[in-house]
């Protein structure tokens, strides 16, 4: 056991803590002793030690090994052996000592003259070199040659006493042969963590002294003055208050103007004279010494701690397989889209939500639309991550193969402390066996790749589009992006998809390659790496119930079932019953056969459908335990190219247009009604007059009479069409060919019937 004692420190435990007695510098081979040298007093815990005590190294002492072993073995004993902690300066190389700073200091400034330390070390080394090069601690301590050798060397050097050589040799022994043990250790003066208080004013002379306007150098810092400065810093440095203002307020409180001194107006000075109060630099230094940070004060301590905290590692340090963790985040697109209906109508910026696989950074899902980030958009993006991408891209006019964009639903989804954190979001993810994780505020490093990836996506997908904001505010003199905006969201989407395909399939990512991948010759792209992981089984379990995911992820809209299909209710209409969205009618063969449409004929049925706001072509209807896909029925071939948001805008515009026409319509209808009433009254008067002329009431309203009258009316209209006078008062055109029996019949009903038949036959012949 005693073999391990060399170099250890003997620690004595007391009620108040502990005290390090000394260091074992030799364990006897022939002698039953362990030799130790007491540590110089004034080491940590002894700030009051005199300078002489700090300098003095006492002679080696011995402790019987058996006693020491027994003392250490006794559990109630007060002594233990601990490892020696080297002073920081001992780790410096000679070059670092010459330069005055070490790489290990990490730029920390000090005013120590370490090159002077080096000289001192070399001087002491030269004194004891002949002894240490020939004799070891065995000869010096165990054989007792220490005193004799020291005296001889001192004489050789011509020293008046052997004190210097003895101290150097003891220091060498205390360092157990460490090359830097002979460094003077001036950096160890005082105690670690203890502030030093100068006895006179340090630093360069103030300008007023240099210019001989004053002889006073300034206030010498004391413990009290520094405490006042720190108190003032803590009290007055607040967000919105600069350090300088805090300094002035501190001076006003702790170093106010003297009551005797007055200005020209007899008013007392607020602050003491500059030479009687601390400087602004001292105020800042006092704050820094207590680790008080102006930035932290401005940001609030909590926020500063969160933003400036040490990172425990990268977020993917604990990921070994694909699908273990998905990252989701939303960003506004740097585009200024215009409406699909008219390019003159500028629409507010669209939002993009991305689901990224954590291990490889492969983008799995996308949702882009006019909807602001919400639980719905996040769920739609998660849904998209598990969907077939070939169909999805085809809808936006991009043709891809299946292996160009893989689908995967991650087991855990890590999101911001925002949109997905709602009861609906958490419940939905739990139901599809996904775990939701939320990153605390200012914790963007927990989902670094997706946060950092936004910029490159914006650069590729958005910044070259006409009307792009380029992710920056409008500068002075720059035209507004709205003026040059001319592209619709549908026109922008293919570029978003292409930039994702570039990110997934082409962007080189050699840092993601493992040794096994390199052995297998995997290309350094996310696609190739993704495929390798899948091929080799490094995949986590994937939620596989996509129908369930769809039912939970897609937003639910109220709808009504009519006999011709399902009509969607306008979600923006607050009236009850809410109006329907025009031209959004969905049906399917299943719906027709289900009998629901017949039931709807007897009374409208209220229901809910699930609709992707970006895909109006189909919706999903959950009925009788299954999810049914319904297709939109419309005669407009381009009706499905708009999003729900745009469709609602169009419907609103249509309603506005109708509102503008309403006054004119009412005017016209009122005119018609009024004219009817005028004509009615005239006709009634004429009828009364005719009845009065006839003398008796005619029975002209029976069925037979009505038919006869109809014939007469037909003949009359026929004659009028031919330009003849139906009343026989005179022809306005050529007479018709055929028998002229008008003189026989005198224009009676029989004649008119014959004429009608004749005309009909003529028209048929002509046709």
């Amino acid at each position: 056991m005693s073999a391990d004692w060399f170099g250890k420190v003997i620690r004595m435990h007391t009620k108040d803590g502990f005290r390090d007695l000394g260091r074992i510098v030799h364990v006897g081979r022939d002698q039953p002793y362990a030799y130790w040298i007491p540590l110089p007093e004034g080491r940590p815990g002894k700030p009051e030690a005199s300078r002489a005590k700090v300098f003095h190294i006492r002679a080696p002492q011995r402790w019987r090994k058996a006693d020491l072993e027994a003392t250490l073995a006794d559990s109630s004993a007060q002594y233990t052996l601990v490892n020696f902690t080297e002073p920081r300066a001992w780790r410096y190389t000679d070059d670092e000592l010459r330069r005055g700073h070490a790489h290990a200091d990490l730029g920390e400034k000090h005013r120590r003259d370490t090159s002077g330390w080096l000289k001192k070390r070399e001087e002491q080394k030269a004194w004891i070199e002949p002894i240490t090069s020939q004799l070891t601690s065995y000869e010096l301590l165990e054989l007792g040659r220490l005193t004799e050798e020291v005296r001889a060397r001192a004489q050789t050097l011509g020293h008046s006493s052997s004190t210097k050589v003895a101290r150097a040799l003891r220091l060498h022994l205390l360092g157990c042969g460490h090359p830097n043990a002979l460094l003077p250790g001036w950096g160890e003066c005082g105690c670690p963590g203890e502030e030093k208080f100068p006895l006179r004013k340090c630093g360069p002379r103030p300008r007023r002294v240099k210019r001989k306007h004053s002889t006073q150098l300034g206030l010498v810092g004391t413990k009290t003055s520094r405490r006042h400065l720190v108190d003032g810093w803590r009290r007055y440095k607040r967000p919105g208050t600069s350090e300088y203002k805090a300094y002035l307020l501190t001076c006003k409180e702790y170093w106010p103007g003297s009551t005797e001194e007055r200005d020209a107006n007899g008013k007392r000075y607020l602050l003491a004279a500059p030479e009687n109060r601390p400087t602004y630099g001292e105020f800042r230094s006092a704050g820094k010494r207590q680790r008080l940070n102006a930035t932290a004060a401005n940001m609030s301590d909590r926020v500063h701690k969160l933003t400036a905290r040490a990172l425990r590692g990268k977020f993917d340090d604990r990921l070994v397989a694909l699908g273990q963790l998905g990252l989701i985040d939303s960003t506004s697109e740097d585009q200024t889209p215009v409406s699909s209906i008219s390019r003159l109508n500028v629409v507010s910026s669209t939002w993009r939500t991305i689901v990224m696989e954590g291990k490889v950074g492969y983008i799995l899902g996308l949702h882009s639309g006019f909807e602001l980030p919400s639980t719905m958009t996040s769920l739609l993006a998660i849904h998209n991550a598990g969907c077939d991408k070939v169909a999805f891209c085809a809808e936006w006019g991009v043709s891809i193969e299946k292996d160009e964009w893989y689908s995967l639903t991650c087991k855990r989804i890590r999101a911001d402390h925002g949109e997905l954190k709602s009861e609906r979001g958490i419940t939905t993810l739990n139901q599809v066996e996904c775990t939701a994780e939320f990153v605390h505020s200012y914790g963007a490093d927990h989902k670094g790749p997706v946060e950092a990836g936004h910029h490159s996506m914006h650069r590729r997908a958005d910044h070259d589009a006409a009307g792009s904001t380029r992710g920056q505010r409008q500068e002075r003199g720059e035209p507004r992006p709205e003026r040059s905006a001319c592209r619709t969201h549908r026109e922008n989407m293919p570029f978003v998809i292409r930039s994702i395909l570039f990110h997934n399939n082409e962007e080189p990512v050699p840092h993601l390659l493992t040794m096994d991948m390199r052995r297998d010759g995997v290309k350094p792209t996310r696609k190739a790496i993704f495929e390798w992981y899948v091929r080799n089984g490094y995949v986590a379990s994937e939620p596989w119930n996509m129908a369930l995911l769809r039912t939970r992820c897609l937003p639910r809209l109220s709808a009504r079932i009519y006999r011709d299909g399902i009509h969607l209710v306008d979600p923006l209409d607050t009236h009850r019953p809410a109006r329907l969205i025009p031209q959004l009618r969905y049906t399917s063969e299943w719906l027709i056969r289900s009998g629901l449409l017949e039931r709807a004929g007897r009374g409208v049925l209220e229901c809910e459908v699930m609709l992707d706001p970006n895909r109006l072509s189909r919706c999903y209807f959950d009925h009788s335990g299954a999810l049914h896909e319904l297709e939109r029925r419309t005669s407009d071939p381009r009706a499905n190219e708009v999003t729900l948001y745009e469709h609602l805008i169009v419907a609103e515009d249509d309603r506005d247009a109708v509102d503008g026409m309403k006054a004119r319509l009412e005017e016209t209808e009122a005119g018609i009604v009024a004219d009817h009433r005028g004509v009615n009254s005239k006709a009634k008067a004429a009828k009364r007059e005719e009845q009065e002329k006839a003398g008796k009431k005619r029975s002209g309203s029976g069925p037979r009479q009505k038919r006869a009258n109809r014939k007469v009316e037909l003949q009359r209209s026929g004659l009028a069409a031919l330009g003849l006078d139906p009343d026989g008062a005179g022809s306005k055109g050529a007479k018709p060919e055929g028998p002229d029996r008008s003189s026989d019949c005198g224009g009676g009903p029989e004649y008119q019937a014959d004429l009608s038949d004749y005309l009909a036959s003529q028209w048929r012949t002509h046709e």
């Binding site: 604990r318 990921l319 070994v320 397989a321 273990q324 087991k411 855990r412 066996e433 096994d516 052995r519 080799n536 089984g537 490094y538 995949v539 986590a540 379990s541 939620p543 596989w544 119930n545």
Partner: protein
């Protein structure tokens, strides 16, 4: 603060009743173990609907038989073929078998399919049981 108070109360209570008191804060478990468990943990629906218990037992037995001579990837392939597991579910069976301890695999180290199976011989469980419960399982 309240958590510290509660832990202290629990410690005192445990001392009074003579029970072992251990504060489990995650440091007792190797980081690689939690990572692997996170990866291998099967979904509830997988265990209930997708995987056949008897086939899972067969799969694990075949895998352990071939794991001594082959790499883990090779043993997986052999076990999949011999136990009649559909190829598309091979990874699901492996994860479930490892999670349910049907395979003797050391989860305190990375699972590398290109190397032979690193066996644990229940050492990890034993150590954790001793540390946390004070007795071997």
């Amino acid at each position: 603060m309240r958590i510290s108070e509660r832990i202290e109360l629990e410690r005192r209570y445990s001392k009074e009743v003579g029970a072992k008191h251990v504060v489990i804060d995650g440091t007792q478990f190797p980081g690689e173990l939690t990572t692997n468990l996170d990866w291998l943990c099967p979904l509830r629906s997988e265990l209930q609907q997708l995987l056949c218990p008897r086939r899972l037992q067969d799969y694990a037995a075949h895998l352990m038989r071939h794991a001594t001579n082959e790499t883990l990837a090779g043993a997986k392939t052999m076990a999949t073929e011999l136990s009649g597991v559909p190829k598309e579910l091979a990874d699901n069976y492996f994860r479930a078998a490892a999670w349910l301890s049907l395979i003797d695999i050391d989860l305190s180290r990375p699972v590398v399919f290109s190397l032979p199976l690193r066996r644990d011989f229940a050492r990890l469980k034993e150590r954790l049981s001793k540390e946390l419960l004070g007795a071997a399982p």
